[in-house]
Symmetry: C2
Subunit: 249 residues, 2 copies
DNA sequence: AAATCACATTTATCTGATTTAAACGGCTTG
DNA sequence: CAAGCCGTTTAAATCAGATAAATGTGATTT
């Protein structure tokens, strides 16, 4: 990692920085999440600016954004410090991305899906009660895309995501809708994994059961159908790594 | 509200602004969430600075933080614009606070608890599988505080929060732990509401059932016990306002 | 030993200038 | 008339340098 510091070229990322501030946000954010500052003391504002070759205003704005996302905290005289991971805002799109970029981790994948197994079945149940015709139409559209994908006429992953996001939205609860990033991220990662382990794609029929339950206004059925979908992935993960962290009982 | 504008005293808030930037963050954030800029065009950087009597750097840093939280978006020539609520980061502590400060809304309270009913039972189930002895001890400590509170020797609300947060933490999944703010916020709001509707406090025995299931390593029981706890609140809310938004079916 | 004071360090704030991005309108051209 | 080109203009983005405020640290005083 240090051996390429003299190149003046970042291996990834510059395309994401629409401007200097966002570029710096991305660089520092990633560095923090990866753990580059773990033992070390975080540089001062002036040092950061010099290291990245930008002005102090750009630096301050990037640091302020990272503060807003819970990664940093700044105080006069004490300096800027990296916050413990417990205060990071894990539902922030950027934080999520940095988290995934650091490495593939079955642990993280499991945690993602442990969250999904709580959220999505309940979202489906809610949707079965309160979804509007438009909501249902969007869910249906996602399902149709999955069918097309099965015939090779659409992208399997993207249509899968479209379906799950549509269900979240159909719950008509903004907090559920908020999970679209987590779910799509989890799916993007899961699918590669499940394809690697087993040679199967997402089951369209199982997804149709969810759609039917929602359209039919049957919360219990919707919850169970969705839960089955995700439990399936979770079992796969637990098979690969039987015991996550059952410490000290 | 306008009749006290000449006093030079804010009814709430100045203590939250450790400095000018955070004060401005709070002021603008609240204004956005309350809806002050709904029809109107958002002021330019220079205008904002003048209106709040601070320099442009402070303004820019506050705006950048709000951008990081998903409330704003800025582009040259177009200016800074308020983002649709769908892109707000609802799990951010500040956003959550602003959301509640705007008014008491049964809708919001229901949405909170619809989320809780998904998260907390599953967290309890997870906890029953993977919690460490320390985790269980924390859950137990919360319960004991609730018992003391019943005798008037502790704060009922705070001990209730301590219990629920301990369970989230015991799930050993950082995503679940992240909900501590939502849950404590929801509880703070719920309790006032449930006390107003029914004259009862949180049931210690019902909470003990959750603790027992977690300590006993029984996921199914833990899930059900926790679910019962929250369903109770949800029913209360739905009684007060039978049909939230079952539009166009 | 405790309280106080001077100092050093780092973020916080202000000011004003310069640069860059992108929407707008008018113009030219096919 | 439609499509593409080009200055104009506006607002954010960036830079530079100075000053203020907060807060540990250590010396000094009582």
């Amino acid at each position: 990692m240090a051996n390429m510091s003299g190149l003046g070229i970042e291996d990834t990322g510059p395309q994401l920085g629409r401007n200097l501030t966002y570029g710096m946000l991305d660089a520092i954010g990633r560095a923090i999440v990866v753990g580059d500052y773990d033992g070390a003391t975080f540089p001062t504002e002036a040092e950061l600016a010099k290291q990245h070759g930008v002005s102090r205003s750009v630096t301050r704005e990037a640091v302020k954004m990272l503060t807003a996302k819970g990664l940093l905290s700044a105080r006069p005289r004490q300096g800027t410090t990296v916050q413990p991971t417990t205060s990071w805002n894990l539902f922030d799109t950027d934080v999520l991305r940095w988290l995934l970029e650091r490495q593939f981790s079955i642990d993280l994948l499991r945690q993602f899906n442990e969250l999904r197994v709580a959220i999505e079945p309940e979202a489906a149940a809610l949707a079965a009660r309160v979804a509007t015709v438009d909501d249902i139409e969007r869910v249906n559209a996602g399902l149709k895309r999955m069918e097309r994908a099965e015939r090779g006429d659409d992208d399997a992953l993207e249509s899968d995501i479209a379906f799950h996001v549509a269900v979240l939205r159909a719950s008509r609860n903004p907090f559920y809708a908020q999970f679209r990033d987590v779910v799509s991220t989890a799916l993007r990662t899961s699918i590669r994994f499940t394809n690697r382990v087993k040679g199967r794609t997402a089951n369209v029929a199982d997804h149709a059961a969810v759609r039917d339950a929602i359209a039919g206004g049957n919360p219990e059925k919707a919850r169970k159908a969705m839960r089955a979908l995700i439990s399936d992935v979770l079992e796969l993960i637990d098979t690969a790594k039987p015991d996550g962290a059952a410490a000290g009982r």
